[in-house]
């Protein structure tokens, strides 16, 4: 590289640095000085003591609607929602990958569609499906299933963009058409990432309390929101414990699956 080029690159970098700096100055300008409230200690400790003395009575209730049941319901909703979105995201993630898609136009459109799904508020999505199938777990599954496509599509498309294309060349050379090439050269490479993101999304769905609460889907969402809004920390504590245990078990399973795939 010639000195002028280096110089040019450096000025570019400095310019970017200045812009980034300005953005941060602007961002900080919106934030007042941090002050810690006098009462915070008291409240903090009362919240913590509540959370650490969970309401064990909620774990199981023969009449139903206890922690175990709602967690199970959440699990079913999350599982199905994840399954749907993992299928739906597949075409998108390849159309949005720069190195796979045929035209720039296709990449641009697919990426924008994915962005659109991502910015679409959960609550509006929920409303749409409530109108279609009524409140309940089915609407929850649909909302989660569609809502996750934006995220999965984006993350998977990016990991497709970073794969090693040399294997693809080999398949082209053997006379494979694009679909065959894709199945043999691309799919095996992105599969681990695909599962990794899907499992991550599954976990997000388990915690998608807000949307499931809105949608009347049963599950753990509504009880958690209600317990939080009346500051029933013991109830919050037991629900959190339930979610943590479930997520941890899931995490253990998912990392085992992942380590087999990598």
């Amino acid at each position: 590289m010639k000195p002028q080029e280096i110089w040019k690159r450096n000025t570019k970098r400095i310019l970017i640095a200045v812009v980034v700096l300005l953005i941060y100055i602007w961002a900080f300008s919106g934030i007042p000085v941090i002050q810690i409230k006098e009462t915070s200690g008291e409240v903090f400790s009362s919240i913590m003591s509540g959370i650490f003395s969970p309401d064990w009575g909620y774990v199981y209730d023969p009449a139903g609607e206890d922690l175990l049941r709602t967690l199970l319901e959440t699990l079913a909703i999350a599982l199905l929602g994840t399954f749907i979105s993992s299928l739906l995201c597949i075409p998108f993630s390849f159309m949005a990958a720069r190195n796979i898609a045929k035209t720039k136009f296709m990449v641009g459109t697919s990426k924008s569609v994915l962005s659109f799904i991502r910015v679409f508020p959960d609550i509006v999505l929920a409303l749409l499906f409530i109108k279609a199938v009524g409140p309940g777990p089915f609407a929850g599954v649909l909302a989660l299933g569609i809502g996750a496509v934006g995220m999965l599509g984006k993350l998977i498309a990016e990991s497709v963009e970073s794969i090693d294309l040399s294997a693809r060349e080999a398949l082209i050379a053997t006379g494979g058409n694009p679909v065959k090439t894709f199945m043999f050269a691309v799919v095996p490479q992105v599969l681990p990432n695909f599962f990794s993101f899907v499992l991550y999304r599954f976990e997000v769905n388990l915690r998608a309390a807000t949307i499931l609460g809105v949608i009347g889907a049963g599950g753990i969402g509504a009880p958690l929101i209600f317990a939080l809004s009346v500051r029933d920390w013991e109830r919050v504590g037991i629900i959190l414990l339930g979610i943590i245990v479930m997520v941890t078990i899931l995490d253990a399973i998912s990392s085992r699956i992942r380590s087999r795939l990598i």
């Binding site: 409230k37 009462t39 008291e42 409240v43 009362s46 919240i47 509540g50 009449a63 139903g64 609607e65 609550i123 929920a126 409303l127 409530i130 109108k131 279609a132 199938v133 009524g134 409140p135 309940g136 807000t210 609460g213 809105v214 949608i215 009347g216 889907a217 049963g218 969402g221 509504a222 009880p223 929101i225 209600f226 317990a227 939080l228 809004s229 009346v230 500051r231 029933d232 920390w233």
Partner: protein, 314 residues
């Protein structure tokens, strides 16, 4: 937010594409083609536990059993955290019975989505937050300030930061705003409005000094009394709002009259039976139900109209 599902999202007509009928009158039932109305072989009930209570339970099952016994058809009860979804679901025939707070009801009615049949009853609330002996079908909202504050009346609020709820909330905005307007204070322009999510946050922000006054439903301080033990000593009520009707029980207007009556009777009898009473008290903090009619909500409409013209034109 304690709750996306506080009493936010009441509603105001204006529902885009749908024909929203007039704002008056007794339900849109007449609009449905079959004069006799729909038969139901299954009843879908949805509610948002109302936040003007100090316990919230997201329990649907107990009510399912009770109602199903009374009506002789299967009943599905679900719990939501947002009124808007109930209204939309009723509008598209997905939900037959909804528990709505007064403003939400008025807006739903404007969209021909709901018709009131009952109102819930509760015990009244004393100034210290405890319950009275008397059963009432309304509650009030209060303006509270810190004990040592120089604010004595709503007039003193001018220019001060006030903690509201969302502008669609009956207790957290609509009624208090009307009170302020009566006192000659514009609820948004003449004070420093701060929108908070959840009545507990309103009380806490007041205690923390982030706002100088807060509006909440009557016994909201009970919610935070566990975390801030001296909340009742540290705060002071300066004003009550007018009566806010309790939660309504509404039905879809298209349902046939017999069924509406059956549902009405079912709720009333649940409220009277020992077992039923215990359940609705535990779960919904309701003590019983009384019949209601649309005209009871005319005052609500006035408030609603007043506020929405004053506020949303902003």
């Amino acid at each position: 937010a304690c709750g996306e599902g506080s009493e936010d999202s009441s509603t105001s007509g204006a529902g885009g594409g749908e024909d929203t009928g007039g704002s008056s009158g007794n339900g849109g039932g007449e609009q449905s083609e079959e004069a006799s109305g729909e038969e139901l072989d299954e009843l879908n009930v949805q509610f948002v536990p109302s936040q003007n209570a100090d316990t919230l339970e997201a329990k649907a099952k107990p009510l399912e059993g009770l109602l199903s016994d009374e009506l002789g058809i299967p009943v599905n009860v679900s719990v939501s955290t947002d009124y808007n979804t109930i209204v939309e679901a009723m509008g598209s025939d997905q939900v037959d019975v909804g528990f709505l707070p007064p403003t939400a009801y008025v807006l739903a009615e404007e969209q021909d989505a709901a018709e009131v049949i009952l109102q819930s009853q509760r015990y009244g609330v004393n100034d210290d937050g405890s319950a009275t002996e008397e059963l009432v079908d309304f509650y009030r909202s209060i303006f509270i300030v810190r004990e040592d504050s120089d604010i004595q009346s709503v007039e003193d609020l001018e220019g001060r930061p006030i903690g509201y709820q969302n502008v669609t909330s009956s207790a957290g905005f609509v009624w208090p705003a009307a009170t302020l307007l009566d006192a000659g204070i514009h609820p948004l322009d003449d004070v420093e409005p701060v929108t908070l999510k959840g009545h507990d946050q309103a009380v806490i922000s007041l205690l923390n000094g982030d706002v100088d006054a807060a509006v909440t439903f009557q016994d909201a301080r009970n919610i935070v009394s566990g975390d801030y033990e001296s909340v009742f000593e540290d705060t002071r009520i300066i004003e009550f709002t007018e009566k806010i009707p309790n939660d309504t029980v509404t039905v879809r207007p298209e349902i046939n009259e017999d069924m509406k009556q059956a549902v009405t009777d079912a709720f009333i009898s649940i409220g009277k039976s020992e077992e039923g009473k215990e359940i609705i008290r535990d779960v919904y903090s309701h003590e019983g139900y009384v019949e209601s009619q649309d005209s009871n909500f005319d005052t609500v409409r006035e408030y609603e109209e007043l506020i929405s013209t004053e506020v949303t034109e902003n």
